[in-house]
């Protein structure tokens, strides 16, 4: 089982400032990876590089063994979907229209949506518990609902990988939990996920692999209990913490000293 | 000698009408494409044959009652066609080429004048008289106009030229250069236009320039009689350095008499001459 996505010796700078250096990692099928790090450590940039939106200065991004810049955008979109924070719809579309946009990589220009498209979109809406919002305008729903709609759109792309950039920031605990449970169920379908987040504890619960970034470098990579040590976190976030396990469910618990 | 010259001139003037010669001279329905042409047609006594005029054909008063065919810069071609004229007479000093071309394409006979100075205007009267079938009347009107001009020229020829400033617009202050009817009239009336050598036909001029050039007479050419004129005269009164203002020689003349290519230019000339050289002894 080869890696779906490989990053090899990636260097990326922006305006002569080095944002990422020496990045090497693999994403395997069905793997859930958490990307952690303080602000400015390059998390969003890393995700954009994975999607081929940004081109690295040095190094290669390989999608299913082939360099990603050899793909055209539609083919990439069939494999990789991204849910980011910024989605400013200038003009009103309904929730179902938004989710159906996820079917774009599978439809040619003159064709209207067919039965398969509608089915996939329908299931995506059901999975994200947004089916009841189908006819509402994207502008009329709450931030949390909107996040789930965007996730539904990503699911409708039927990708092998979903990249998620800080999607839990706007959600209250109930929705955070829902989303993460949703992600767990997706994992069962064999979809890999890369989640960039600040929420260390939550990540620790659901990710099987963690990548800790500091100043553009991979500071640590491995299983959560390997990566999330007191030294690592205190050093990277420059803030003293205490790490232990929650006695009830044995999840990693982090307390600020 | 001069009479022979005049007769010779009037014959020579007929040349442009050659293309219209030999055609049926009874022209029943005429459309005038410019206010100046309207005046000319009435002067020739053929006002009753006019079936359509442009919006600003305001002289003589009867013309105002005629059907309107748009403005001379924007003719309403539909209306002209509907009126079914035998001939449309216009002037390149105003009518758009495209409008005229379309009229010709519609099969309407069109005659155009190109009056560049007052002599052209008088010649055009003669030409129009000819194509409308009354050549003798045309010559008569033209000759009498030429004589009136000549009389004035003689009267002022011995007098010293007076510096004149002609204002055709108030805000901004606009005058005329040598390429205009107004300038022709000022010269013939024994005056000299202080803005004669300006490069643009209707140049904007600053008050300072006017003060500097010390005109002895100021003519305000305008349609606005009464209150507005008083206002403008009061504005000039501020500049007592100007000889014209000092001597109270600021006058209003109806602009139609000075800028319209019609017989009334001669009336405008006579008015100007009286204002510029009152000492010449007018009847």
């Amino acid at each position: 089982m080869g890696a779906i996505l490989t990053l090899k010796d990636i260097f990326f700078s922006y305006n002569s400032r080095t944002v990422l250096k020496n990045i090497n990692m693999d994403i395997l099928e069905g793997q859930v990876i958490g990307i952690l790090g303080p602000n400015g450590s390059g998390k969003s940039t890393l995700l954009k590089l994975m999607d081929g939106i940004l081109i690295p200065e040095k190094g290669k991004v390989l999608l299913k063994g082939k360099p990603i810049d050899k793909y055209n955008r539609i083919d990439i979109a069939r494999e990789i979907a991204m849910v980011g924070q910024e989605d400013h719809f200038r003009f009103p579309f309904s929730v179902s229209e938004v989710v159906l946009m996820g079917r774009f990589p599978y439809t040619s220009s003159y064709r209207f949506e067919n039965k398969r498209d509608l089915e996939v979109a329908h299931n995506a809406l059901k999975l994200t518990n947004t089916l009841h919002l189908a006819k509402r305008s994207i502008h009329e729903i709450s931030g949390g609902e909107r996040q789930r709609v965007f996730l539904a759109r990503a699911i409708a792309q039927e990708p092998s990988i979903i990249l998620l950039d800080e999607i839990t920031s706007f959600l209250d605990i109930r929705f955070k939990r829902e989303i993460l449970m949703l992600l767990a169920s997706l994992k069962n379908k064999g979809i890999s996920m890369v989640i960039a987040s600040h929420d260390i504890e939550l990540m620790a619960r659901y990710c099987e692999k963690m990548v800790l970034l500091k100043d553009g470098d991979i500071y640590a990579m491995g299983r959560p209990d390997q990566v999330l040590t007191e030294e690592n976190i205190s050093h990277v976030y420059e803030c003293p913490v205490h790490v232990d396990k929650d006695p009830v469910d044995l999840n990693i618990r982090i307390t600020i000293k | 000698m001069r009479a022979i010259l005049l007769v010779f001139l009037s014959l020579w003037v007929w040349a442009p009408c050659l293309s219209f010669c030999g055609t049926d001279t009874h022209v029943a329905r005429i459309v005038s494409l410019a206010p100046s042409i309207t005046e000319i047609i009435y002067t020739l006594g053929l006002g009753d044959r006019l079936v359509g005029v442009t919006s600003f054909s305001n002289y003589p008063a009867e013309a105002k009652k005629l059907p309107k065919i748009g403005t001379y810069i924007h003719l309403n071609l539909e209306k002209i066609i509907q009126l079914n004229p035998d001939i449309a007479i216009g002037t390149w000093d105003g009518n758009r080429r495209s409008d005229i071309r379309i009229l010709k394409e519609m099969g309407i006979k069109v005659y155009m004048t190109t009056p560049k100075n007052i002599w052209d205007v008088i010649n055009s009267i003669q030409q129009i008289g000819m194509i409308l079938g009354i050549p003798q009347k045309g010559v008569m009107v033209a000759s009498s106009l030429r004589m009136r001009i000549d009389n004035i020229r003689k009267k002022v020829s011995t007098l010293k030229r007076v510096r004149v400033f002609l204002q055709i617009n108030n805000r901004p202050l606009i005058t005329v250069n040598k390429d205009t009817f107004q300038n022709d009239l000022m010269r013939l009336a024994g005056g000299i236009n202080i803005a004669e050598d300006e490069p643009i036909r209707y140049p904007r001029i600053s008050i300072e320039e006017v003060i500097y050039r010390r005109p002895e007479v100021i003519i305000i050419s305008s349609m606005e009689i009464g209150g507005k004129f008083e206002e403008m005269r009061q504005e000039w009164m501020k500049w007592k350095d100007i000889p014209a203002v000092k001597n109270g020689r600021v006058f209003l003349v109806n602009s139609d008499l000075l800028d319209r290519a019609s017989p009334r230019l001669v009336e405008g000339l006579e008015t100007l001459a009286r204002l510029i050289h009152p000492e010449a002894g007018w009847r």
Binding site: R73, G84, E97, P105, L118 | E78, K79, S98
Partner: protein, 340 residues
């Protein structure tokens, strides 16, 4: 199961309905004019029956019909351009002139008027050259490497508009009366010189642009969500932007080189269509285009009949309708403007 948000049937019905409306407006405009024509006479003239008192046939076929057709074609492309630009620039206030095409072609036309060129060929050619020149200039200034960065492009367009407008004002200030009138009537839109060749040229270019841009309907839908999102979903954003910008600017530049500048048509009609049928470009593009044709024909007919035999410039009529419309929009939408 969720329903299809837009079916092909709906697109066809709406388009057909608007097309029929267009034909009706055209017929009505043929009937209306400075010269009153009885319906009976008009039908006889069209069908070629009976004698022709008052040259009705001439009036209808040589003066009114070419003008109506040209108004329709110009309105069509102005609205189409408005829709596409609003999507690409993600700005509900974008009109097809935003890249400076208006001032560029105006400058070309005014230069042509000063040079004394003919209205039939010389001036439209100069206007079109002006438009092309401006498009190239805006692209060169607004480009960042191979990318068409939208905010740069808008800025470049605004700057060039301002600069060319200053030059135009300079020319106007120095011009003589006769030329002044020609310049002003071009700047406000003047369809009175229309003839069939003009219509066919604009029509051909417009129809080609329509089909090219319709191909991008779904791309445009997604681009309105944001360029990065569009990239993620598989849209080749650069390609769509470049092609759209160039196709719209060229066809709009061509149309206004014949008609002069007519504002608001590319602004109002897209908005109204969006309010009625939604933002999906698969229906917005055909409805706004046909709506634009109807709108301009109606505005032009109004302009040439309301003070007959004199005429209002058609740009004045569209502005008189457009400005209050936008005030109304502002009051009703207010702070929700960015969400339209």
């Amino acid at each position: 199961m969720i329903a299809r948000p837009l079916s092909p049937a709906k697109v066809i019905y709406v388009s057909l309905g608007l097309f029929i409306l267009l034909l009706m407006v055209m017929l009505f405009s043929l009937y209306k004019g400075a010269v009153n024509i009885r319906l009976v006479d008009m039908l006889n003239a069209i069908l070629g029956k009976g004698n022709d008192p008052g040259s009705i046939r001439l009036i209808l076929l040589k003066i009114r019909l070419p003008r109506i057709l040209l108004a329709g074609a110009v309105g069509f492309i102005l609205s189409l351009g408005g829709v596409v630009f609003q999507a690409i620039l993600r700005n509900p206030l974008a009109d097809p002139f935003i890249l400076g095409v208006s001032s560029g072609s105006a400058l070309g036309a005014i230069t042509g008027i000063i040079m004394g060129l003919s209205y039939r060929t010389g001036i439209p050619t100069m206007a079109f050259c002006g438009a092309i020149f401006t498009i190239v200039l805006v692209i060169i200034i607004g480009k960042k490497g191979k990318e068409a960065e939208t905010s740069n492009i808008i800025l470049a367009g605004v700057i060039i508009n301002a600069f060319f407008t200053a030059i135009i004002m300079f020319f106007i200030a120095c011009s003589s009366n006769e030329k002044l009138h020609s310049m002003l009537s071009w700047l406000y839109g003047d369809l009175s010189q229309a003839y069939y060749a003009q219509f066919w040229i604009v029509f051909t270019v417009t129809i080609c642009s329509f089909f090219i841009l319709y191909l991008f309907s779904r791309h445009l839908n997604i681009i309105t969500a944001g360029e990065e999102v569009a990239l993620q979903l598989g849209v080749d954003v650069e390609k769509v932007k470049w092609i759209s910008l160039i196709v719209v600017s060229l066809s709009v530049g061509l149309a206004v080189s014949f008609s002069g500048l007519i504002g608001f048509a590319g602004l109002i009609v897209p908005h109204i269509c969006r309010m009625i049928w939604g933002s999906d470009h698969r229906i917005l593009i055909p409805s706004a285009s046909l709506g634009g044709a109807v709108f301009l024909i109606a505005a032009d007919t109004f302009a040439r009949t309301i003070i007959a035999p004199n005429e209002l410039p058609v740009g004045v009529v569209t502005a008189a309708i457009g400005a209050p419309f936008f005030i109304y929009l502002l009051i009703h939408r207010g702070s929700r403007w960015e969400q339209f």
